[in-house]
């Protein structure tokens, strides 16, 4: 039963909470099923797509950058945009503009766009389901 639309609001910055991974798992699952997904990244979540994210080595494990293959959330999200394209599904990612400004997070990967609360409301009203994953 593909072709539905889910809108998800997220708030957590990367590397701070298990919520980010769970949210992306839900996005991926929906896309794989051919559903459309609208993401409204609010607050710290606007940092998830920052272009300047860099993987790092692990001095505790003695691994190099290449060996450690430390994930960056920007890579995961870029992969989800690619998945959406492959599945013919739409992934719409809005970074809340004011949140972006105050965090200096304006340089992001290809895919997301700047927006605001009105975008979240409009997306929600046009969706089959809305899920808010707040930060604690």
């Amino acid at each position: 039963m593909a072709g539905k639309i889910i809108t998800i609001a997220i708030m957590d910055a990367p590397y701070e909470s298990a919520n980010s991974t769970s949210a992306l798992r839900i996005v991926q699952s929906a896309l794989q099923k051919g559903h459309g997904v609208n993401v409204f990244a609010y607050e710290g979540a606007v940092n998830l797509t920052m272009k300047a994210q860099q993987p790092h080595p692990n001095p505790v494990k003695g691994t190099s950058v290449e060996q450690e293959q430390h994930p960056t959330t920007k890579e995961w999200i870029a992969a989800l945009f690619k998945l959406a394209q492959e599945k013919g599904a739409k992934l719409d990612w809005v970074n809340c503009g004011l949140c972006v400004d105050e965090r200096g997070a304006g340089d992001w990967i290809e895919g997301p766009k700047r927006g605001g609360p009105k975008d979240f409301l409009e997306a929600s009203l046009a969706s089959d389901a809305t899920l808010v994953i707040a930060t604690k």
Binding site: A18, S29, A30, K33, A129, L131, I133
Partner: protein, 108 residues
């Protein structure tokens, strides 16, 4: 009546909020709503057998709340055989439930 998917990401060992979320699930089910409690992240911790919340989770199932634990979260925490009353499923199942018409989804 309506349909609810309540997603609990936290453990009741952390404080009273999760217990109150369980009570909400029970209250919604008692009102005749089709109610699912999906446990994810640390929310699966009380499903380990002999945890002090086994009784509460079993009561929820008896109150006709469908209690599901995320397989990945269970595996991540080495909970190999959770309470029998709990259904194990993946996020794919969660997405199906969320997109059922008329469903309200609440993340805690």
């Amino acid at each position: 009546m309506g349909k609810y998917v309540l997603i609990e990401s936290r453990a009741p060992f952390d404080g009273p909020d999760s217990e109150q979320f369980y009570e909400l699930a029970e209250g919604l089910a008692k009102r005749g709503n089709e109610t699912t409690l999906f446990l994810i992240q640390n929310g699966v911790l009380p499903t380990r057998k002999r945890s002090r919340y086994n009784g509460m989770l079993s009561r929820l199932v008896e109150s006709r709340v469908r209690v599901i634990a995320d397989r990945f979260s269970l595996r991540e925490r080495a909970i190999r055989s959770p309470l029998e009353a709990i259904i194990q499923a993946d996020v794919d199942t969660l997405v199906d439930f969320i997109l059922e018409p008329g469903t309200k989804t609440i993340w805690h």
